[in-house]
């Protein structure tokens, strides 16, 4: 450990100036996509076993209104995805951070999953606010405050309504992004969560006339594309803002976890239980 004599020689060894390029980003992303099918199963099981009431769904053919059970499926599904990609997220974080993004997010979302399982009678918005507060408390590093305020802002924008549609969901995701930007002061291209969240939101808006399922599918694809596109970027936020170019060649772990959340969102809409 370079404690008392950790000079620049050590720093240099940790400084991969011989950056890796786009070519390798595909293989680096592979683990992210490989586990998806399996994760979808886990998410489904998690949603079924939460005990949260399925709520009402719109008439067949009509756009399904989203409800507390949908939000619960989203959060449980996110927890399952993050658990499955914990090591991948941690690996990404090792390039520039403390290599704790995966572990922190897993701990935080596991806590969110149990909060969701225990919550009863909360509106979708209230559920999100509670999940956000849990993340702030349980996730260390930058991810806790950022994702925590995102979910809290999303919840606030939904208010106490018991059901909501795609426009309100879009508004909530917009409020979440505003919360992230307010705290982090990041812009597109800074190699942060924003680089996955912003294109996902844009895709969601562009595809809104195609229906919820198609719009959320487009959002997930755009989030994954946005996350992958952070690989050649130089990070300009966090420690990277004063440590320099060593982040180039690695996907941003925050953008990667955001794409997982949008994956869980798509499946939460697709996995609505059949009408009872």
């Amino acid at each position: 450990m370079p404690n008392s004599n950790g000079r620049m020689a050590t720093q240099d060894a940790m400084n991969p100036k011989d950056v890796r390029h786009r070519r390798t980003s595909r293989s680096r992303c592979a683990p992210l996509y490989a586990g998806l099918t399996q994760v979808a199963q886990v998410a489904k099981v998690a949603a079924v076993t939460t005990g949260v009431s399925a709520g009402r769904r719109g008439r067949r053919g009509a756009p399904p209104p989203f409800d507390a059970a949908f939000v619960a499926r989203w959060l449980q599904g996110s927890a399952a995805e993050i658990a499955a990609h914990r090591d991948f997220l941690t690996q990404l974080d090792a390039a520039i951070g403390d290599a704790d993004h995966g572990v922190n997010m897993d701990r935080g979302f596991a806590a969110v999953a149990s909060v969701v399982a225990a919550a009863d009678g909360l509106s979708p918005g209230e559920l999100l606010v509670q999940a956000g507060a849990t993340l702030v408390l349980r996730v260390g590093g930058a991810a806790g405050p950022l994702y925590g305020s995102a979910l809290r802002e999303a919840g606030r924008s939904l208010g106490t309504a018991s059901t909501f549609g795609l426009p309100e969901l879009t508004g909530a995701l917009d409020a979440a992004l505003a919360g992230i930007v307010k705290l982090g002061a990041a812009e597109e291209g800074d190699k942060t969560i924003v680089d996955a969240w912003m294109p996902a939101l844009q895709a969601l808006r562009d595809a809104r006339s195609a229906g919820a399922a198609a719009a959320l599918h487009a959002a997930r694809i755009a989030a994954e594309g946005g996350a992958a596109a952070t690989t050649p970027m130089e990070a300009r936020k966090g420690r990277a803002s004063y440590l320099g170019a060593r982040s180039v060649g690695h996907q941003d772990p925050g953008a990667a976890s955001t794409s997982l959340l949008f994956g869980a969102l798509e499946r939460a809409a697709a996995d609505a239980p059949p009408d009872g």
């Binding site: 404690n3 950790g6 940790m14 806790g144 307010k182 705290l183 982090g184 420690r239 170019a245």
Partner: protein, 274 residues
């Protein structure tokens, strides 16, 4: 001469700008790219690069013909650190402080508008951490920078406060008036804090180190997760351990005991957030 009183030697200035261009972002640059960036003729840049190459300050990639920084710079950087008096004297004190409070410790010096981290002791656990020696943090986003600045003469403090204040996070203080007030608080308390201002999730508590004239020569600080380091306000034990270390380090740097401006035992403020 004809150039007035400026004693600068143009070619040395240009060589320095080449090195800085190679250090800023793009790891490899060709002669044309460098010429364009610096607004110089290609032949001039070529001559400068060949001279720097002879001194191992730059090297040429044999495949692409582009230039990158050379190995001699590492020797120079290490020599800078080895000869840095505050760094040398802080090695043992920083280790002891890190052990005592169980967190990472950094020693920094204000150069221009940034704090240069000259020493960094990892948090004494087995977690992965990144060495920040050599990092340059905007002074107003760092507790090290704020506490160093708080004890500077008022004219230098004013220049710092009124200069460009980059926003690193949504919590960075970028309003000159608010920053000036914050520095007054820091001077009164004898230590500075920072929460989420440079990196979301991270915080720092720092105290200044003084020389024999009572001038600040740098600062020593404890860094860690905000929720642990600054739950409301900094824990009293942490502030006592930190200011105690800063005072002893100041004595080693020649500060006279009990001299005004040197760090005394400030009463840690009660929880600021509560």
């Amino acid at each position: 001469m004809g150039e007035g009183r400026d004693p600068t030697i143009q070619s040395v200035d240009r060589a320095a700008r080449i090195l800085k261009a190679l250090a800023a972002g793009s790891p490899r640059l060709g002669v044309s790219e460098l010429a364009e960036r610096l607004g110089l003729a290609k032949t001039t840049v070529h001559g400068l690069l060949r001279t720097l190459e002879r001194q191992d300050l730059v090297e040429q990639d044999p495949e692409t013909g582009k230039y990158r920084l050379g190995p001699e710079l590492l020797q120079l950087g290490n020599a800078f650190l080895d000869h840095h008096e505050l760094r040398g004297r802080s090695l043992v004190w920083a280790d002891t402080l890190a052990e005592r409070v169980g967190e990472a410790v950094r020693v920094g010096v204000l150069y221009g508008r940034s704090v240069l981290v000259v020493h960094h002791v990892f948090r004494p656990d087995d977690s992965v951490q990144i060495l920040e020696v050599g990092a340059s943090v905007p002074w107003h986003a760092s507790a090290l920078g704020k506490v160093h600045a708080a004890f500077l003469p008022s004219d230098r403090r004013r220049t710092l406060v009124s200069g460009p204040l980059q926003r690193l996070t949504g919590r960075t203080i970028v309003d000159p008036h608010a920053l000036a007030l914050a520095l007054e608080d820091v001077a009164a308390a004898g230590f500075a804090t920072e929460a989420h201002e440079a990196v979301i999730g991270e915080g720092e508590v720092a105290a200044a180190v003084f020389d024999h004239r009572g001038h600040p020569v740098g600062a020593i600080g404890v860094v860690g997760p905000v929720e642990r380091l600054l739950p409301g306000g900094p824990p009293a034990e942490l502030v006592i351990a930190l200011t105690d270390t800063a005072r002893r380090l100041s004595w080693e740097m020649g500060a006279r005991r009990g001299r005004p401006g040197s760090v005394g035992h400030p009463a840690p403020r009660a929880s600021v957030g509560g």
